[in-house]
Symmetry: D2
Subunit: 249 residues, 4 copies
Amino acid sequence: MSRTEIATSSADDITVRGKSLTRDLIGKLTLTEMMCLTILGEVPDRARIAAIDACLVALMEHGLTPSALATRLVYGSAPEAMQGAVAAGLLGVGGRFVGTVEGCAHLLERLVAAPDLAAAAAAIVADAKSPLPGFGHDIHKPDDPRTPVLFAVARAHGIAGVHIAALEALSRALDTAKRRHITINATGAVAAVLADAGIPIAIMRGFALVARCAGLVGHVAEEQRDPAMRSIWEAAEGAVPYHQEEKAR
Amino acid sequence: MSRTEIATSSADDITVRGKSLTRDLIGKLTLTEMMCLTILGEVPDRARIAAIDACLVALMEHGLTPSALATRLVYGSAPEAMQGAVAAGLLGVGGRFVGTVEGCAHLLERLVAAPDLAAAAAAIVADAKSPLPGFGHDIHKPDDPRTPVLFAVARAHGIAGVHIAALEALSRALDTAKRRHITINATGAVAAVLADAGIPIAIMRGFALVARCAGLVGHVAEEQRDPAMRSIWEAAEGAVPYHQEEKAR
Amino acid sequence: MSRTEIATSSADDITVRGKSLTRDLIGKLTLTEMMCLTILGEVPDRARIAAIDACLVALMEHGLTPSALATRLVYGSAPEAMQGAVAAGLLGVGGRFVGTVEGCAHLLERLVAAPDLAAAAAAIVADAKSPLPGFGHDIHKPDDPRTPVLFAVARAHGIAGVHIAALEALSRALDTAKRRHITINATGAVAAVLADAGIPIAIMRGFALVARCAGLVGHVAEEQRDPAMRSIWEAAEGAVPYHQEEKAR
Amino acid sequence: MSRTEIATSSADDITVRGKSLTRDLIGKLTLTEMMCLTILGEVPDRARIAAIDACLVALMEHGLTPSALATRLVYGSAPEAMQGAVAAGLLGVGGRFVGTVEGCAHLLERLVAAPDLAAAAAAIVADAKSPLPGFGHDIHKPDDPRTPVLFAVARAHGIAGVHIAALEALSRALDTAKRRHITINATGAVAAVLADAGIPIAIMRGFALVARCAGLVGHVAEEQRDPAMRSIWEAAEGAVPYHQEEKAR
């Protein structure tokens, strides 16, 4: 029979993951620590929390992304239900964006298990039919400024380990094959740091969802102060004109 | 104890609302009829179905609405989950758009119950602090072209009744008070025709959701053939520039 | 540049897919016809519409599915936003349920393109590592009662074609390999009939979403009349007891 | 023209709310601080962050709530799209649950503005037609164990102010009128502490959404380790039997 370990309550307390909400958690844990307790079943040490916080901060807010636009458009249409606007934006946190973090993490997992890291990295580069997840960026060239900062946080807290090493080996193999430097983007760096902090690949998307959820609430708050939804709507309408020949049928 | 009347199944049949899915429904009912059976508990007669179909056709597709934009933005971000893209768009079918149908229907219900229709209509107009739901339109002036067509369908099928009469009385009272003609918009006409077809106000939003769901799938299909998501994204980004003074802080 | 063919409007009319909403569509098309115009770009003939309606009727309502439960739980939590409840249920129309329709349709497409249908069907059966999509059912044995009805509708309207033939060939190959009869389930039948009606595989999920949207509105309507959300909640809580050892940590 | 203050990027940096993501934010801020920067436009001091963290910890996880059940049911139906499952659960964070936080906060705002706190509290109690938001609990009697802990955190950090005082005044007025003690529930305490920490009422729901998002990811993680979806489904189905008379029609 399935059993939950998440939470139960009695008249005088609530238990979350075997801990007393009132004695052990409220006022004792930060949001990040409580989130890890709920998802992972334990509170990571301070070093891992610092690395996880760095990744969450990097993931939270990227400006007017498709997700942020969806949240603003829905909020303007149904302002009575903020939860619908935030949910609409989260629905865009799928294969094309956060799937890349997972895709890169799977490569790193293969490399970590390989007997010869450099050879395995070269093989992945040789076999790749499409751009490797975690590499390349439209704007941030030659380097994504977030990547060294994320690595530095991991190193400063003694968290940097086999996954960052694997990503760097993959980068060397890719640069050698391409004969030029390809950006390690923030997506790749987040995959490596989260993996070194012990986050299983299967739940990495969940961490991205929480960070983006906070970012999308930021867009709702800005929409409350200075609504941009109508400008967005009009600009988008103008960008996709009606196909004229169709009219002539 | 709560009980469902919706559906049950045995080894050799499925029962929906007391009817055999295989003997009474598949091949016997249209989508509109089956939808009414499921929602209302009975299949309306042909005249009411014709009026309901007319309203659903009018509601389905209005171009690049905020809902349609949200669907396209989310579909481009997570094309592996079409259901997420359609759900994102439906989340915009809320207070500001479909709430107007419900708001107008509530006014009509009050008018239908009033002993003196003209006096009650004048009182509603006199008391109104904001524009009356169901009236006015940015583009369609002096008249919304959908309104007379929806009324004509209802009349042709003998469905036009007290709610259309109430809407027309409200229109006369409004024009008298404003000393000019105010458009009866399609939202108002849909409210009156659905009410005359026997749809309860509390579930009208559900009919709008089904019609819009079909319309949003149309946007997904167009996005599959000719993706506009990136144009929409870029145009929207350009429409909301970054606030420069903020940088100077 | 991307262009939309979907809809535009002027002061005195709205154009959808090159047709006048007021002259050609409202009062002229059913919901199913309008939906096909919007998604496919044309209104199928009566025979294809009959086959599509039969599939939509079969897909609409399956009782207290996970989707229907999600809709009821969310509606009870946020009754002010019906669109959120319906969206929550639609989010369950994903890989495990409607993905099977698509998976079966892909098999049928391969069979239709094969030079020797029987040999290709035998090869698919021989290569299959997991149950074939479109076959097998927990309750409906030896046959799913919907399957012959869906085929009969397609045949009665002259729509039954290569995809139904392919599904029947696959069934014969499967029964031969297993030495017993395996149910052709409704999912498989819907895939075959929609394909024979000319619906592209890439948009089949959209047809399921519209049908389920109507079914989920039916659950909202029943929840309005006779709320079951609290019974569902309590039963579900009882089904997943708190893991006691966890407490002892 | 609308302008965003949220984020922009150049080749070598990203600016969020006027701060450099790489120099000022990654590795410098916690998730809670970054979330506040994004939503409020500034990073609150340590005392306010501690109070906000306490509220977020209290809100995160309440066991098998309707939202958590919706997330698990959708995740089991479409495991390829975790974002859909989390979004489905968030759609339940609406009027009935988090609306109570807002409703209580509005009462506290009125009290804070009143010239005579005790008289204003007595008037609110006398005028109330339904239970006051923030008071009463099914299980936690006579007191909700979270309330004094939340107040203690606020006091320990010097954050407790006019809103907690207003909630306590309201509690005294309510107990006097009812002639017995009514629980101040965690919802009321969260409203008072968030208000004293300077969170505007209009965005409080956003804080609840982030906390619940993390909690719902916890349910996805448990579903990955020990799936309960099928047990939940079966129990829920059993709780709502098919209405027999309907069959006899």
